[in-house]
């Protein structure tokens, strides 16, 4: 059954659903078009899939369109994705021409008849060149573009200056642009499989399937197996903490199939050194219930990233009432209030020290988890995100 806005009353801050309805009154029948690159398989697609029916329920005439393009277009988008996030990559002039040509083809196919057009990420950015006279255009950037490669940014910026506003996920992602730049944190959906309440039975069954006993405190890092998430550092921190506190470590994530992914997995296995209490779980991206169960069964959730976009895995754990130890990176610092909802750490030793702090102080861990859940309720749920969008639309259409 489709989720409705009223389903969020029990999980969102009191009165917030009513406020959304009242904010939306002024936007009734306003046409909002949102365009991104994929219908499925990305966080942005997941968010749009959830948002669109809720906006429609609020009376907003919301549409969602997806770009179409061939392999060449995809290759250029991938290169841009890496370069905008500061990675080494390159694109040729031919690739750039194809990128723009594909945008022109999409422009002929799509109707931009809307009061507000929201362009998500870099792939559809050049569509601005065919904007009709009426309607406001917004660029919603979900990427970490704190340090973009200059060539990629210069290419994109020539289009971005024609927009009416830009939206970023963190203040540090804001750029030098002659248009207003707004901040909207991403959000989690508390009613999705990844975050909904699970019964003890469901949690137990999932952990049995994964082969993780619940006989001692569980430390969990549930995140893509990527060097930026520092899984080896988490194993080292576990080793230090384990000298004084008996516990298990679970590293759950999706490995990448490339050479780097294989190398990292080998390093993780070497660091784990056949310790039966270190569980390296290779899960598919669709393992939402398993991740949910692991987070709920964990005593402490760790997200020891050295580099991070927003890091919504932290909000997911906070929503489940868990104290979180996070790396001092990306949006983790926006989610963790130090010593209140968790700890940010800068080293393996710091991570180990905070693991000990929390394992030795279960009351502190419980209080932190409770506060973390409340903080997540106010700041990182989909209802807050919807409210921010309504506020943005209201501001643009004034």
């Amino acid at each position: 059954m489709a989720v409705t806005l009223d389903d969020y009353r029990t999980v969102s801050p009191p009165g917030s659903v009513d406020i959304l309805r009242r904010m939306a009154e002024k936007l009734r029948s306003r046409r909002v078009l949102r365009i991104n690159a994929n219908r499925t398989g990305t966080g942005v697609a997941e968010m749009l899939e959830r948002h669109t029916p809720l906006l429609q329920e609020l009376g907003v005439d919301a549409r969602w369109e997806v770009m179409q393009g061939g392999e060449g277009f995809q290759a250029t988008c991938d290169a841009l994705y890496n370069m905008l996030q500061g990675e080494e990559d390159r694109f040729s002039d031919e690739m750039l021409q194809q990128f723009i040509a594909t945008n022109r083809e999409n422009a002929q196919r799509l109707s931009f008849d809307a009061d507000v057009v929201v362009i998500h990420d870099h792939q559809p950015v050049p569509l601005i060149d065919v904007r009709p006279q009426e309607g406001k255009w917004v660029w919603r950037c979900h990427l970490d573009i704190a340090r973009p490669q200059r060539k990629a940014w210069a290419m994109l910026r020539q289009f971005l200056v024609k927009y009416d506003a830009a939206v970023f996920s963190l203040p540090k992602f804001a750029q030098r642009l002659p248009i207003p730049q707004f901040l909207i944190y991403p959000s989690i959906d508390p009613l999705s499989d990844k975050n909904r309440e699970l019964s003890e039975r469901e949690i137990g069954q999932a952990l049995d399937r994964l082969g993780v006993p619940r006989d001692k405190p569980i430390l969990l890092q549930a995140s893509r197996f990527h060097r930026f998430k520092d899984p080896v550092g988490v194993i080292e921190a576990y080793r230090i903490a384990k000298k004084q506190n008996d516990c298990r470590l679970v590293l759950a994530g999706t490995p990448t199939s490339d050479e780097e992914g294989r190398k990292l997995l080998a390093e993780m296995e070497e660091a784990a050194a056949n310790d039966p209490e270190v569980h390296i779980l290779r899960l598919p991206e669709t393992a939402d219930i398993e991740i949910n169960a692991l987070q709920r069964a964990a005593t402490i959730v760790i997200q020891k990233s050295t580099r991070e976009g927003f890091g919504l895995m932290v909000a997911e754990a906070m929503w489940k009432g868990k104290p979180v130890i996070g790396g001092f990176a990306g949006g983790i610092t926006a989610q963790l209030i130090y010593e209140v909802t968790g700890y940010t750490v800068n080293s393996v030793e710091g991570c180990a020290y905070r693991i000990r702090t929390l394992l030795n102080n279960p009351e502190l861990a419980a209080k932190m988890g409770k506060d973390a859940r409340e903080f997540a309720r106010w700041h990182f749920l989909i209802t807050r995100n919807l409210g921010d969008y309504l506020a943005l639309l209201t501001t643009l259409l004034r």
Binding site: I19, M23, A174, E339, F375, A391
Partner: protein
């Protein structure tokens, strides 16, 4: 407790109090600071709306749980810059007492200036995050709750979104020409409860949180209801 009733039937205001909630859309100014000198330069130059964002509306963003200090400047100095002394000095500023935003800017600037004159080198972030100057656009939204009596008012206060407390207490004081918060004005002008209005006007939200201020307000209303029985 009961003062001169100015309007309406006994215990009932002629004009109901309409609770307004609000929503904050955050805007980035594109200006940042990596050390105390840059923070000082920014504070001197950013629009007053940015001073407001980092001090007054901090409470709107932290209605239930706050960081160690009650404004963004103090938290940044203490956590990111790791200058606890500066953090403490900035934390103790009470915008409720300082008055208008220009006076608040002046207070912040003089503290930073004084701090710089006493330290050997300019404190700069090493591992921490930059300070990003922001401002907000506050959208007022009717909360759909009205009150004509003190009891209705108290009941409304108990269930309204906490942003309404922000809107009627904190934001009201920074609106042009306002000397007391909206709740106090209505309790005095609408219900004629002068003494209660005085106590409501004296509530300092900066000493607690929005939820703390709400709790205090509800207690004051309850004592007012008891006195009227």
């Amino acid at each position: 407790m009961r003062g001169t009733r100015l309007s309406g039937k006994d215990g009932e205001a002629k004009h109901p109090f309409q609770f307004m909630a609000c929503w904050e859309l955050r805007e980035m100014l594109g200006r940042r600071a990596a050390d105390v000198q840059e923070l000082l330069d920014g504070l001197e130059e950013v629009p007053l709306d940015s001073i407001y964002f980092h001090t007054h509306s901090y409470f709107l963003r932290h209605p239930y749980i706050a960081g160690p200090y009650p404004n963004d400047f103090a938290n940044w100095a203490a956590i990111q810059l790791r200058d606890r002394v500066l953090g403490e000095r900035l934390a103790v500023i009470d915008p409720f007492e300082v008055g208008d935003l220009e006076a608040l800017r002046n207070e912040l600037v003089t503290i930073l200036d004084d701090h710089l004159s006493h330290v050997g080198s300019v404190p700069r972030i090493v591992y921490g995050e930059l300070f990003f100057f922001m401002q907000s656009r506050i959208l007022a939204v009717p909360a759909g709750i009205r009150a004509r009596t003190l009891t209705e008012f108290r009941e409304g206060l108990e269930r309204v979104d906490s942003s309404a407390v922000y809107f009627h207490v904190l934001a009201a004081l920074t609106r042009k020409g306002k000397r007391r918060n909206d709740f106090a004005s209505w309790i005095e002008d609408g219900l004629g409860l002068k003494e209660l209005a005085g106590r409501v006007a004296a509530i300092n939200p900066y000493a607690t949180s929005l939820e703390g201020a709400r709790k205090h307000l509800v207690e004051l209303c309850e004592s007012g209801e008891q006195a009227a029985r």
